[in-house]
């Protein structure tokens, strides 16, 4: 067998085994993305309830809470970057890191010192490769985040935000919003201070519960033990939930991105296999043709010699 055919066959074999791997990863991501989306959807009732409660408090009292108070002169801003642990997800990590760079640049231009908090090994790798400082990092399980992790992050950020000395005045989060299976976009949002979605027109026009309250009237509320303490309980929970939601969306986005990346890798492998098979066949035919012409040539030479 000619050396060329052997080489082509070898390549076909290796591409085939790569294809098996990418196919397996694609299927795995596909099945896990369904679960991840389910988890995002599962948190919706909680988000509704908590937003509703916040709107209620905001609409029925004018309590000022440290978590909602804007700093007069913000000088330090924390940025939580939500990336992934593993690669092989197309542009997923680089897109979110790029978005974070933009935010960092913007904050720096506004004269704020940026304190990065990293989530996911890729973000940590990005920062340590560039020898940049970061305040804290979390790694592991980015494709299936747990409530405990979100709580840990939230507590750290809130603590940083509430610190009297050397704390931060703002907390931003950069994550990837899961729009659909084919579209995930990096987003940045300001987590703290919380902008309570207060209906400026007054407390009687809250529409969130209009389905139940006749005439859209918001009833008078009784706060137990007091509006301040209710806020104390609700706001940190809200922060934790926002972070958890970001992590879940990021996880779903990561898996969707990985599924797409692996699908195109599998497709490319198929294309390569086709190309190499054609080349191998061509080489085989060329070899056969050459052998035939050699035999014919040899036979003719013998016949002529007689």
């Amino acid at each position: 067998m000619g050396a060329q055919i052997r080489e082509y066959r070898q390549r076909i074999r290796s591409v085939k085994s790569i294809k098996k791997i990418t196919r397996a990863m694609e299927l795995m991501a596909a099945s896990r993305v369904v679960k991840a989306r389910q988890r995002v959807d599962d948190t919706t009732p909680y988000a509704d309830a908590i937003t509703q409660a916040l709107a209620t408090v905001a609409g029925h009292s004018d309590v000022v809470h440290p978590l909602t108070t804007e700093a007069e002169n913000p000088t330090r801003a924390a940025v939580l970057i939500v990336a992934s642990d593993r690669g092989l997800a197309g542009a997923y990590s680089s897109a979110v890191l790029k978005a974070s760079e933009q935010l960092v640049t913007r904050l720096t231009e506004e004269g704020k010192e940026v304190v990065p908090f990293l989530y996911g090994r890729k973000a940590v790798g990005y920062y340590s490769f560039r020898r940049r400082e970061f305040a804290e990092s979390w790694e592991g399980n980015t494709d299936a985040p747990q409530v405990e992790r979100a709580r840990e992050i939230a507590e750290r950020l809130v603590e940083e935000f509430l610190a009297e000395e050397g704390g931060v005045d703002e907390v931003h989060v950069v994550y990837t919003k899961f729009v659909s299976m084919v579209s995930q976009e990096p987003r940045s949002l300001r987590l703290l201070p919380i902008q309570v979605v207060d209906d400026a027109t007054g407390s009687d026009t809250d529409t969130a519960r209009s389905g139940r309250d006749e005439g859209g009237q918001m009833p008078l509320y009784d706060f137990e033990p007091s509006a301040e303490e209710v806020l104390d309980a609700v706001l940190p929970q809200y922060v934790r939930h926002r972070i958890f939601n970001c992590l879940l969306q990021a996880a779903a986005s990561e898996l969707a991105a990985r599924q797409r990346a692996m699908k195109s890798a599998t497709d490319n492998a198929e294309d390569l296999i086709t190309t190499y098979t054609r080349l191998a066949n061509q080489a085989r035919q060329a070899e056969i043709t050459q052998e035939i012409s050699e035999i014919v040539g040899g036979a003719n030479a013998l016949a002529d010699a007689k």
Binding site: P45, A49, A53, V147, P219, Y221, E224, D232, Q237
Partner: protein, 88 residues
């Protein structure tokens, strides 16, 4: 008598939903029972048990790690980060 419409919501999904006669929770200031017709309120909850007495006398008891409860025109929403069922 009208019933309460109760929702028990945890961070990772709705845990329980249905009609109930009474809901008993532990607020930060002590135990608190809610019957139909209660005035609207928002209560901060302490870690402890939430007790739901359903229509037929079936009781549901869960353990929560703190959170809050809203009561609004016989609609009760208990919101907690983690909810663990503790027996019937």
């Amino acid at each position: 008598m009208a019933n309460l419409n109760v929702e028990l919501v945890a961070a990772n999904g709705k845990v329980w939903e249905g009609e109930a006669r009474m809901v008993r929770v532990r607020s930060v200031e002590g135990d608190l029972g809610v019957l139909p017709g209660h005035e609207p309120m928002l209560v901060a909850l302490a870690p402890g048990e939430v007790h739901i007495r359903a229509e037929g006398g079936d009781d549901t008891t869960v353990e929560i790690d703190g959170g809050f409860m809203t009561v609004d025109s016989d609609h009760v929403t208990v919101v907690a980060e983690s909810v663990v069922r503790s027996g019937s």
